[in-house]
Amino acid sequence: MTFLCVGLSHKEAPIAVREQLAVPLEQIGERLEKLRKLPGVREALLVSTCNRIEVYAIADSRGVGEDILGELGPIAAPHAKCRFDEEGVKHLFRVAASLDSMVVGEAQILGQVKEAAALAHQAGAMGAEINRALAAAVRAAKRVRTETEIARGAVSLSSVAVRLAHKLLGSLERRSVLLLGAGEMAQLAARELRSEGASELLVANRSPARAEELAREISGVPVSLAELPTLLERADVAICSTGAAHHVVTRELMARALKARRYRPIFLVDLTLPRNVDPSVNELENVYVYDLDDLERVAAQNRDLRALHVDKAEEIVEEELRAYFARLHERKSMPVLARLRAYAEGVARQEAEKTLAALNGLGEKERKSVRAMAAAIVNKLLHAPTARLRAEAGQGPLGEAAAALFGLEDEPGPQPVPMPVPDPAPDPAPAPLPEPDPEPAVLPLVRNG
């Protein structure tokens, strides 16, 4: 069995290719069904975001990768990459931890991966193997988020502006936002501020008609640009992008407004070139002016900060990968152990009961002793082989040798040996059971992002 990862991301293909390949949410189930029907595919998961389209699958052989690639379509072929086994699993871990993202540390990808898992469950394409790998990847991703700073700090200009507004004003509830002009980024920032709880959105524009139209679009209140002095008294955040060739907010205007607003702090975001806000306004007390360069500098600083923590994040991923593979190997070695033990215990029980049937006149105590002796012999004999098989963790030749030696190959799994005695007495030396799977059988399906 092979773990496959077939697909492409922003690293391999330009956006023109990716947008043609992207699978809409409602079609994912259908595509998974097709993938699942390919010969040799046992389990499949399809992750489709604007930056990647990738199929993770458990297949009978590596050759199945070609068929999956064919299923993705001819446009994908020149760009797509096939990753197998450990490399494939590692890729899944890195994707979930946002180390493979265009903006490293972005939060959406983990939600998108979980959503893909939920869809694969619905489509019946998800199986135990991928589920286990995915659960481990999610755990690694969560550790990366909590133990490193790669997700800290906003990296897009509008979100930097919103974070700074929070830094200055705390909660944005009951705060007033003034939008001067109708630049696209200003609208984006205004919407973001609104979704963060800002209670009032004042929209001013040179053209009153445009102000009204925009106010309707972003559920704000149209106001006149002529009222600017009063508006500056009222607003807590002002976003300027008027397209005027001169300073709309001058130092004098702001100084007057500041006095009237009793020095309440105000955050002015200037998103235009040439600038709308006189840079010297920043020198006024409790007034903070950020222009495009300032926002970009903070964003760049956050990006650098994230990059600093990538190594630590990669270490965590490696650590979790090692733990995952160790568990996988242990699991692989387990069936032989379990079958061996079940076989030996079955023989011991049968022989003990045969002997007991032949010996008449034994009391309950003596009968128990005979059974305990049979179980103890099994335990003693199997002690060393059990330890060696566990240590080998399915990687060495002993597992197969044991299976061949004791004639255990043909059994599909540990089969209960019929128990001829209806004796409910507990086994004096209970056989160690195979360790329970440390991972949940089904990944918690959380939809977000």
Binding site: R152, H166, L168, L169, R262, Y263, P265, V298, Q301
Partner: protein, 278 residues
């Protein structure tokens, strides 16, 4: 018994300080949780020490008669500061202030417990003075609160500078909003002012009981009156002209320095609570 409790509580404060400082470098919420728990445990032991019988009673922590030992007032101050911080943190979620308060507490406590305590006399006529007890209590509470306000003022200035110069530093992400620091600092300044007023009024009464002078002229009294006037004008400026931010932070810092001046005056005075008379 009480001494051992105080020593253990000092250890808890020191461990709490270490936890908060580690959090500044390594942002894991577990450090903050341990820091808070350690401070809380330290405070419980500390209060236990004050209440413990035998070698401590209200007199030995500076409230009134008996021999006044150098350390106890500072010890009381530390306990009040920690209690104030825990309330502040519970109300506003300000772990970054913990990184200031916990080391401050240790800095106040260590000299208090290492310096050999020298017994200093209190004027006999004040042994049972209620005014003196209230005076010392109010002074300790007021100083504790103003120490917190001072810490927040420093935090405000550091945070504001980063915001103005547009160069967020390493800790920027962990600092609370400027608005919150400003509001919390101002509220503390108001409460500090209330207790300072009470301390001055009762101090004046006690002085009158001991010497017949309500307001003797001495460094301690001078600093206290200056600090009181400064906090009064700060509150006035905030209420009338809406002063806030940097100006208020600078005033709080100056006010706290003046309060420290009263303690220096206290330690250098020839006798306690009746300065300028004995």
């Amino acid at each position: 018994m009480a001494t051992i409790l105080v020593h253990i509580s000092l250890l808890a404060y020191a461990a709490g300080a270490a936890a908060f400082l580690t959090w500044l470098v390594k942002p894991d919420a577990r450090w903050v949780r341990s820091g808070r728990l350690l401070l809380l445990a330290g405070l419980a032991l500390h209060v236990g020490a004050f209440l413990a019988p035998a070698d401590t009673n209200l007199a030995t922590i500076g409230l009134g008669a008996g021999n006044w030992k150098g350390g106890q007032l500072f010890s009381l101050l530390a306990a009040i500061t920690v209690a104030g911080y825990l309330i502040l943190d519970w109300r506003y979620d300000l772990p970054v202030a913990g990184a200031f308060v916990a080391p401050f507490t240790v800095a106040v406590m260590v000299p208090a417990h290492l310096v050999p305590s020298t017994a200093r006399a209190i004027a006999p006529q004040l042994y049972h003075s209620i005014a003196l007890r209230i005076h010392v209590g109010a002074a300790a509470v007021g100083t504790g609160i103003l120490a917190l306000a001072f810490g927040l003022a420093l935090l405000y200035l550091a945070s504001e500078k980063q915001m103005k110069t547009k160069r967020p530093g390493r800790l920027f992400a962990r600092l609370p909003s400027l608005d919150l620091i400003d509001k919390a600092g101002y509220r503390l300044a108001v409460w500090g002012f209330v207790f300072l007023s009470l301390a001055i009024a009762t101090g004046s009464l006690a002085s009158h009981e001991a010497t017949g002078h309500a307001l003797p002229f001495a460094p301690k009294q001078g600093f206290a009156i200056l600090a009181w006037a400064l906090f009064a004008s700060l509150i006035q400026a905030r209420l009338v002209a809406g002063w806030r931010g940097r100006r208020v932070a600078f005033l709080v810092i100056t006010g706290f320095v003046l309060i420290i001046g009263t303690y220096v005056g206290l330690l250098t005075a020839p006798a306690l609570h009746v300065a300028g008379t004995v």
